[in-house]
């Protein structure tokens, strides 16, 4: 288990503006993803846990051991923290072979070390390249070696700093299944820094959303995507249509509301904590909307919209409408509707989120 409460601030310098990190979280076993844009303080958080940076104040506990306590003036050096850190560029020692890299990190007596190194080489499919230098093995093997090296000392926590950055697709897939294997076999609590939402879904049982040095939301990736805590998180996730609207009426008895967006009325769910006349943001994912042609009488919650652009994506077609509204449809659906003159967009009440 990891308990962290970290406060650290930096004054503005010539090449950077002032920044302050102030986060508090608790993580259980399994993989937790620290998600956020660059400059949100994710890597700094990892560095504080590993001891490369010292918080101004706070407390860091890993597996019951106090690594840092500002009040009690405890600040263990990195070598005493037992935090396995996988660096973005792996930082494999170039003058040592793969075997020597693992051996450097192994603990115990000679015989014990030898056994552990062989076991790790075996587990991570590195036995055949054990005698080679890091630059003589493939990128995937370097990646496996760096994770094996971080784990061989039986750390209390595994920290990975943007492990998938700059990797091509096959290597990414390899990394995800590797981390899945690590999670099952080692039970080491793992923190992974990323700014890729897909990666959160691939890896994380839990994600912590960072923004400007603050923790803005925590939950499973699904929960965060279904219910972003606020407009900033929704913007960060980058998967939403964010549409300005106004609350026209609220009916707690029927559990409904009426909203006005771009001159049209929409039926929505009851909005707790909002009042009539509130300006709100409708928050709807492009794949949650349906399009149809304007044949016959419009159904409730269908709004006519002007199509501005249609573009192909790997998964289908992205339709861009006026008011900055985006809808994702499948190819077949688009082919069926493409000769439409007028488009209707259906906002089903259950997909309408309001922020």
């Amino acid at each position: 288990m990891i308990q962290a409460q970290i406060r650290k601030s930096f004054a503005a310098a010539r090449d950077s503006s002032a920044f302050s990190l102030d986060v508090e979280f608790e993580v259980q076993a399994g993989i937790t993803v620290l998600f956020g844009p660059s400059g949100a303080g994710k890597t700094l958080t990892l560095e504080c846990i590993a001891g490369f940076e010292a918080p101004d104040e706070g407390r860091i506990l890993v597996g019951g051991a106090i690594l840092f306590d500002g009040a009690a003036k405890v600040n263990l050096p990195p070598r005493a923290r037992r935090c396995g850190y996988v660096f973005q560029n792996y930082a494999l020692f170039p003058h040592m072979t793969i075997r020597e890299n693992l051996r450097f990190a192994a603990r115990g007596r000679q015989l014990e070390k030898h056994r552990k190194v062989n076991e790790m080489l075996e587990r991570f499919h590195l036995s055949e390249v054990a005698g080679r230098k890091p630059r003589e093995v493939s990128g995937g093997q370097q990646q496996r070696c760096s994770i094996a090296r971080a784990l061989i000392g039986a750390p209390n926590v595994l920290l990975l700093d943007e492990p998938a950055r700059g990797l091509d697709a096959p290597l990414r897939t390899e990394l995800y299944s590797l981390l899945d294997q690590v999670r099952k076999e080692f039970q080491t609590p793992t923190l992974v820094v990323t700014h890729d939402l897909e990666e959160c879904f691939e890896l994380g049982e839990r994600m912590l959303v960072f923004r400007e040095g603050r923790l803005v939301q925590a939950g499973t990736p699904r929960e965060v995507l279904e219910r972003p805590a606020n407009l900033a998180v929704a913007r960060l996730l980058g998967r939403f249509n964010l549409l300005p609207a106004e609350v026209l009426a609220l009916d707690p008895a029927q559990n409904t509301s009426r909203l006005r967006f771009a001159g049209n009325d929409l039926a929505g769910p009851y909005l707790k904590g909002h009042f009539r006349g509130d300006k709100v943001w409708l928050c709807v994912r492009p794949e949650e909307l349906k399009v149809c042609s304007r044949d016959g009488k419009p159904e409730p919650n269908q709004i006519p919209m002007q199509l501005e652009r249609a573009g192909e994506t790997p998964g289908g077609v992205r339709l861009q409408f006026e008011h900055g509204l985006t809808v994702h449809v499948e190819r077949a659906e688009y082919e069926r509707l493409r000769h439409n003159r007028e488009w209707m967009i259906e906002f089903r009440p259950e997909v309408i989120r309001v922020l």
Binding site: Y85, A91, F93, P94, H95
Partner: protein
């Protein structure tokens, strides 16, 4: 006429000894300057460069004050070894040391700074002590540049004149190094001796520098992209 090779042997002996001492002192200081922040770092940084800019006579004068027979250090040395340090061949070692260490520190420091600190950070993270980080990671990665720095220091310690003459003097057969012998030969009109020693020392220096450059130019300890 027969050439007296004593100055050359003395110079080589002095250079070997002083380089060994310079390596021990210089590498420690260079590592501290490159990797540690401590109080007085700027002053130390400036102080180790001082011998590069001060006139040799000034350095010699300081050394006479520090290791002279009247100084505490000089008295201690005389009490232990039975003879004074000044105007002995051992003093020539001290002179060569003062002459070459700043150069060694400068190039060794550059070598340590060239090593990507990411590797040292990784080593600490893996539980290595500072001592282990230095010997297993920093040194091996900086090895070539360090060897080149030591070679350079050796070459430089062969050629000190000013400090040597101030504290070791010019006693033929005892403290007369090559640089001093050449001066002596020119003064005394012994052109043949001067020419021979000049050629030998130039050839030697050229060879050493070539080796140093070749060692330094081969692969460096950088992080792969």
């Amino acid at each position: 006429m027969a050439i007296d090779w004593f100055p050359l042997w003395l110079s080589l002996r002095v250079a070997v000894l002083s380089t060994a001492m310079a390596v021990a002192i210089g590498i420690a200081i260079a590592y501290a300057l490159a990797n540690r922040s401590f109080r007085g770092r700027d002053v130390l940084d400036a102080a180790v460069s001082l011998p590069l800019v001060l006139p040799p006579t000034v350095l010699g004068y300081y050394l006479l004050v520090v290791i002279g027979r009247a100084s505490p250090f000089g008295r201690l040395y005389e009490a232990i070894f039975g003879s004074p340090l000044v105007f002995s061949w051992q003093a020539a070692v001290v002179a060569a040391l003062i002459h070459s260490t700043p150069l060694l520190i400068k190039s060794a420091r550059a070598a340590f700074e060239m090593v990507d600190h990411g590797y040292e950070r990784a080593a600490r993270n893996l539980g290595a002590s500072e001592w282990r980080v230095f010997w297993r990671v920093t040194m091996p990665l900086a090895r070539r540049a360090i060897v080149a720095a030591c070679t350079l220091a050796f070459a430089r310690s062969l050629g000190d004149f000013g400090v040597t003459i101030m504290i070791a003097g010019n006693i033929p057969g005892r403290t007369q190094t090559v640089a001093v012998a050449i001066y002596d030969a020119v003064e005394g009109g012994n052109g043949a001796l001067a020419r021979t020693l000049v050629l030998v020392i130039s050839g030697l220096a050229l060879a050493i520098l070539t080796i140093a450059n070749r060692v330094a130019a081969s692969r460096r300890g950088g992080m792969p992209a």
